[in-house]
């Protein structure tokens, strides 16, 4: 088992180190890092904007590049959170709590250094877990029929809706809305055109890139314009500041390990968003600390643990996405969409049929994370400069990249119009405090959920009990019931205390979880 995994990994390194693949991986990491640093741009916007660039590539470099963009932008987001108190990606809201106070104390460099070490460590652990867990999961996944696939998707959607952020009811509403968006287009079984409202262009589904860029690009600009003023007082970070002292390393080590474990655990659960992961990691640190009062005033543990958690979760999240075709969160859903555009159907067959993609991707994680580490040491000065790109220059330029990117997807101006519509829809929903990231999860899974549900019930002659009579499926349904029960218990016992919610909206460093 171990020998097989190692030889597969060796093969993967061979693929990932091919000059062309290495180049695209490097390019993805660099661009992802760059976009992630820019104020108001997170992993989702980075991937959506750059997705069209990958269409002309072969599947292997395309996937390597997209993965590079993902963890590159994630790292870039941490820089903005620590130096400017600006969480451009929700999971980094937690990093702000202690990272920014550290910057104000002149220890921003150390915080960045620890973040880097924590991410590299956590990513390495996540990769190892992925190497050994994926083949196991594949063996189980081969036993899956439509019944099981529907049940696990239901569990993933339910977990994504209720456990990510804000009110669970709103999460369910957004997931349902996403599923409905997934329904738009021609029904495969009957050929009926659903919700196309006479637009010929909609008969072939809503375009993924248009939806993602509308929701995560244009909607953000509409919300932030004239409101996001990046003032960032003069932060200076030099190379030498970034090297943590031995005492600081020691202080950060255990939080880093704990954060990694939490991230790995949450990565294995489908549907748990990245935000909840970092929140739990932070909460655990405050509970374990001898002096919890330090948190919120520049505690190193409060940076190391959540950052480690988010990076190990990122890696582990790839397991269900690649082996089952079931994405854990919105970013994974987007990557899944990208794989499908490349003609790859994620699922248990992927590892055997496209071994180069799968093992190349795993090896490239390592190479990419090391590249990221090396890249950020000399480039940190440039990133600090980039943080000060005024929003008034950034968003118009980004709008052009969005427009041309969507157009080049299918040479269709209609889809650029879709971007505008989803941008406005997304902005309205954000203003009403709906969690819009779950829309994407619903949209991607929508057709799969429908198809498998219909097939399962066709097989059982319309008997709904099939979902609990088959053992694997029953486990997933049990998980769903547990989730819903927990939510009801929360609602009944919670005495007007919404700690996750409070943390989500907190960019003020004074707020600490209770």
């Amino acid at each position: 088992m171990t020998g097989k995994a190692l030889s597969d990994l060796w093969f993967g390194f061979g693929v990932a180190l091919e000059p062309q693949n290495l180049m695209w991986s490097f390019f993805g990491v660099l661009i992802g890092n760059l976009i992630g640093v820019l104020p108001g741009m997170g992993a989702l916007s980075a991937i959506s904007i750059l997705l069209p660039l990958t269409y002309t590539l072969h599947p292997v470099p395309a996937v390597l590049m997209l993965a590079g963009i993902y963890y590159g932008s994630q790292y870039g987001g941490a820089i903005g959170a620590i130096l400017l108190n600006l969480p451009s990606h929700p999971p980094h809201a937690i990093t702000c709590l202690d990272g920014y106070p550290m910057t104000r104390q002149g220890r921003g460099g150390t915080a960045l250094g620890i973040t880097m070490i924590a991410s590299l460590f956590a990513a390495s652990v996540g990769i190892i877990v992925m190497i050994f867990a994926s083949p196991l999961l594949v063996q189980i996944a081969f036993k899956f029929g439509p019944t099981e696939i529907f049940s696990i998707m239901l569990l993933g959607l339910l977990a994504g809706a209720t456990m990510s952020r804000g009110s669970p009811a709103k999460g369910i509403a957004m997931t349902t809305f996403g599923l409905l968006l997934g329904v738009v287009g021609t029904d495969v079984n009957s050929g009926a055109r659903r919700f196309t409202f006479g637009f010929e262009q909609l008969s072939d589904r809503i375009e993924l890139v248009a939806l993602a860029m509308g929701l995560f690009g244009v909607a953000d600009f509409l919300i932030n314009v004239n409101r996001l003023d990046v003032v960032g007082h003069k932060v200076k970070v030099r190379l030498r500041d970034m090297r943590p002292s031995l005492a600081e390393l020691k202080q950060a080590f255990m939080p880093m390990v704990r954060g990694t474990m939490i991230g790995t655990l949450f990565g294995a659960l489908p549907g748990t968003g990245p935000t909840i992961t970092t929140f739990v990691a932070y909460a655990v640190e405050t509970k374990l600390a001898k002096d919890p009062k330090r948190f919120g005033h520049g505690a190193l543990e409060g940076v190391a643990s959540p950052e480690a958690a988010s990076h190990s979760k990122t890696q582990v999240d790839f397991i269900p996405t690649m082996t089952l075709g079931i994405p854990g969160d919105a970013v994974m859903a987007l990557l899944l969409g990208a794989l499908m555009i490349q003609g790859l159907q994620p699922g248990p067959q992927l590892i055997s049929q496209h071994a180069d993609v799968f093992w190349g991707l795993i090896a490239s994680f390592w190479i990419g994370n090391v590249l990221l580490f090396l890249l950020n040491v000399p480039l940190i000065g440039i990133w600090v400069q980039l943080l000060r790109v005024p929003y008034r220059f950034m968003y118009p330029a980004a709008l052009f990249f969005i427009s041309i990117g969507v157009y080049s997807t299918n040479d269709s101006l209609f889809e650029v119009g879709e971007v505008l519509v989803f941008g406005i829809v997304g902005a309205i929903l954000m203003a009403l405090e709906f969690p819009i990231a779950t829309i994407l999860l619903g949209y991607i899974l929508g057709p799969l959920v429908e198809e498998n549900f219909r097939r399962a019930l066709l097989l059982s002659r319309g008997d709904l009990r099939i979902f609990v009579e088959r053992p694997i499926s029953a486990v997933f349904i049990g998980g769903c019931v547990l989730l819903v029960t927990l939510q009801i218990v929360f609602v009944l016992t919670r005495s007007r205390r919404q700690s996750i919610d409070a943390l989500e909206h907190a960019s003020a460093p004074s707020v600490a979880p209770d």
Binding site: F177, L222, L399, F400, Y407, I428, R454, L457
Partner: protein, 157 residues
Amino acid sequence: MHHLRKLPKDVWGGALMVAIGGGVVLQTELNYPIGTLQRMGPGYIPLVLGMILIATGLYIAGKAFVTGPGRAVLQARPPQWRAWALISLGIAGFVAAADYLGLVPAAFAVVFIAALGDRGNSWSSAALLALGIVVVAVVVFWWGLQVQLPLLRSPLP
């Protein structure tokens, strides 16, 4: 109308979900066969989803109506009608200009119009930014990535 503004945000949010769900159910009932659980028609799933949306919308709105605005009183931020209109117009401008005039005017239009939405931009800074992006558009997208859009085209067929 004034008292409507005092309603908690979630009442509006819930109402919006009910409206969307209602629209879906209506459209489904009118146009798509529902079928049976064993042999579902194209309308079955949308109908179920529409009803779930109505139910959650009612719950969200009802809960907010009972508990009131509660803790989450966010600082009111002034609406940015001008910026919102100009950003939307910028994208629409890209579509129109790309359709009739070509890539160069389209790139200029989206950046220039959208940039005017920010109070910090003047006419000249917006124009300068737009010109810079036009250069990127020509070099990177037209020449480098070979995007299928002529640089300039005649608006008349």
